[in-house]
Amino acid sequence: MDFDLSDEQRLLRDNVERLAAAPDGVTSDRGWKRERWKKFAELGLLALPFAEEDGGLGWGAVETMIVMEAFGKGLVREPYLATVVIGGGLLRHGCDGEVRKKLAGRIASGELLATLAHTEREARHELADVTLSARKTSGGFVLDGVKSVVPHGDQAELLFVSARSAGGRHERDGVSLFRVDADSKGVMRRAYEFADGTPGAQIRLDNVVVPADALVGEAGKGLALIERVTDEAIAALCAEAVGVMSAMGEMTVAYLKTRKQFGRPIGAFQALQHRAADMFIALEQARSMAVYATMMVGESDAAQRSAAISAAKVTIGQNGRFIGEQAVQLHGGIGMTMEYRLGAYFKRMTAINLMFGDSDHHLRKVADAGGLDRKLA
């Protein structure tokens, strides 16, 4: 067991933090900038998780954690989670040989954006609730249905689309995953902004024809892959959340030191000091669970992996909401305004809590799983 970062990891962190802090990333078109994306590519960030044989850096969950935490701190809205973590994960764990290598290369170079179109309107947080239909034809499949909350679905060129090729609604078996070109005939996208400003889209597939080799993995067996990559996404999101929380914490402490009321800095009031202390504790506990998620994401036993990831999401959700709400409260009116950066963090934190299942959902999952693994700390 070892908590230290390697020199290489420390360098990565410093580089990404510098890039993420660059002030030009926030207000541009659709919330992010192609130029910065190119810088990510140059720094190797977009190649991070891919195997060296696929032209990647062959780095792992710890490096992803480092990157995502820095992105959280810097409120980076570039489609890293959608494209590199999720898209990259689906490629790495689901696609074979040449296809994987080719697409990984295009993602790594920054020319291809990818995302997963999975959530449907009635499904809430249940991953198996897929109704978009996949009909087998002689040459491939026909996909028909709607996906509604697709992060960066407005600009991604490569869509991974989950569909039901067999079985009834809610059944684990029968969910298949397909690679779909976003400009295929019958794909209609409606762009909108998530509540935190992240670009998103509703995507309608109107009898979209895809070839047989668009199928990722085995037909009807796509759910395990989706679950695995979702767990990886949650682990990355937990790290991002830690970055967001620590930024909110730092802003709040700084504000407490400078804002004066009743003739002294409000940070001199003990009730607010204790609130700040509780925020610090919440952050440290969240950080520990983000580390835990990072370590458990590679666990081979899917049930143990999933329980651990759920546990992390519970903590992130509860503590993130606490920190966010208290940060706004301690700032008073200024924390409610668009002009002040705290609000953007608060909204991002709120969005994170809504993605991939809220804390209640995951608490139930942990309870149902009957607990956490003892192999890890």
């Binding site: 009635e122 509540a195 935190d196 400003g197 008073g332 924390g335 305004t337 609000g343 809504l354």
Partner: protein, 401 residues
């Protein structure tokens, strides 16, 4: 002691409910049911309906347009309006400056302003907070210098809700900078927003809404007759006003309505084939909220009964409990509503811009409003004396710490 509503009280409730049902504009009602704030026009129109009925200012003394209802009837009336839901009276006029003028104002002020408040012929806003003085209200700096028949006002107010609609603003201003204590030397002034030297800057809130403003005063001339009460004794008016505000910010009837609505909404969303409202954990959260709300409702009645018994004008510091718990419950409803919206709570929308219903929706309107409403409702524990200030009041004024 008997907590049961009498048959007469139940009949009265029915009468209020029927009146609202028959007279409230349908579009206003639908928009509010969906979770939008009523627009200026909707508020004004409804207030005028109430005014014609004689119900515009039910809490005021009879001679000034009040109804003479006892606290129970007033409670029922307020609850029915909030729970229907219909627009509430514009608080800045009816609950804030109106009672201050009634209690501290001159005959001329009463005659001039009160009927126009009741009918919202004047839209009022509140000039208390300043950039440097939030919770520490008494540290305010906006200065009013006496110059013959006028005060000349210079300074800045902030967090001024709906100043963009306002005809008048009531302000705390510093008339004696040399006073021994910060609370002394403050006066309560009524200022025409049309006066030269008054300018606005809107502040956009995190939910994307445009409710609040900064108001700047640059050598604004205010006639001396617009002073309410005694010069340099404006703090008395302020304390009186803030204590009234605490009762009204509890908004228990409105929270009840939101809770009932949430329960219905949660019956319509399912996960894994089970309606959310049947999820044990969610159902218990709803029940817990309902219980706390019931407790607060009875607490409110107890506080009102107590204030009534102790005579008018003496605010009960227990009203801090109402403000504190009332606003916390408002926030918790918005949190639970957002939770109920699930992943589609991500689909954002502004509270101020109702979308039409005829286009293909990415998510139902209530889901799209859930996040902005959650964001916006963070304000309620900050304004009207932050909840930290309310805890100070309880500790000091009630517990003597």
């Amino acid at each position: 002691m008997d907590l049961r509503f009498t048959p007469e009280e139940q009949e009265f409730r029915q009468e209020v409910r029927s009146f609202i049902a028959e007279n409230l504009d349908k579009e206003t009602h639908a928009s509010m049911l969906a979770g939008h704030r009523p627009s200026k026009d909707q508020i004004v129109a409804w207030q005028r309906v109430l005014n014609r009925k004689g119900w515009a200012t039910v809490d005021w003394p009879v001679g000034f347009g009040g109804t003479g209802w006892n606290i129970i009837k007033r409670h029922i009336f307020r609850e029915e309006v909030q729970a229907y839901p219909a627009p509430e009276p514009l608080a800045f006029g009816v609950y804030m400056v109106g009672p201050v003028i009634i209690t501290f104002g001159t005959e001329a002020q009463k005659k001039k302003f009160l009927p126009r408040i009741a009918n919202i012929d004047d839209w009022w806003c509140q000039g208390f907070s300043e950039p440097g003085s939030g919770s520490d209200l008494a540290s305010l700096k906006t200065a009013a210098r006496r110059d013959g028949d006028h005060y000349v006002v210079n300074g800045q107010k902030t967090w001024t809700t709906y100043a963009q609609y306002a005809d008048w603003i009531f302000c705390l201003v510093r008339t004696n900078p040399q006073a021994a204590k910060p609370q002394e030397g403050i006066s309560f002034l009524l200022i025409d927003m049309e006066s030269p030297g008054v300018t606005l800057r809107p502040i956009v809130t995190v939910d994307g809404g445009r409710e609040i403003n900064e108001v700047f005063f640059d050598d604004v001339k205010v006639p001396v007759e617009n002073l309410v009460g005694v010069e340099n004794r404006g703090w008395d008016c302020a304390k009186f006003l803030l204590s009234n505000e605490r009762v009204n910010t509890a908004r228990i009837g409105a929270t009840k309505e939101r809770l009932r609505r949430l329960k219905k909404l949660a019956a319509d969303v399912s996960e894994n084939g089970r309606p959310l409202v049947d999820d044990p954990s969610f159902a218990e959260k709803l029940a817990a909220l309902q219980i706390e709300l019931k407790a607060l409702e009875i607490t409110q009645l107890r506080v009102l009964a107590n204030e009534h018994k102790n005579g008018k004008g003496k605010p009960d510091p227990a009203s801090s409990v109402l403000k504190l718990r009332g606003t916390e419950l408002q926030q918790r409803i918005t949190e639970l509503t957002l939770q109920a919206a699930g992943p589609h709570g991500l689909v954002g929308e502004s509270l101020d811009v109702p979308l039409g219903h005829n286009e293909d929706e990415i998510a139902p309107e209530w889901m799209r409003l859930a996040a902005p409403t959650y964001f916006n409702t963070r304000k309620v524990t900050i304004y009207g004396g932050s909840n930290e200030i309310q805890r100070n009041i309880i500790a000091k004024q009630i517990l003597g710490l």
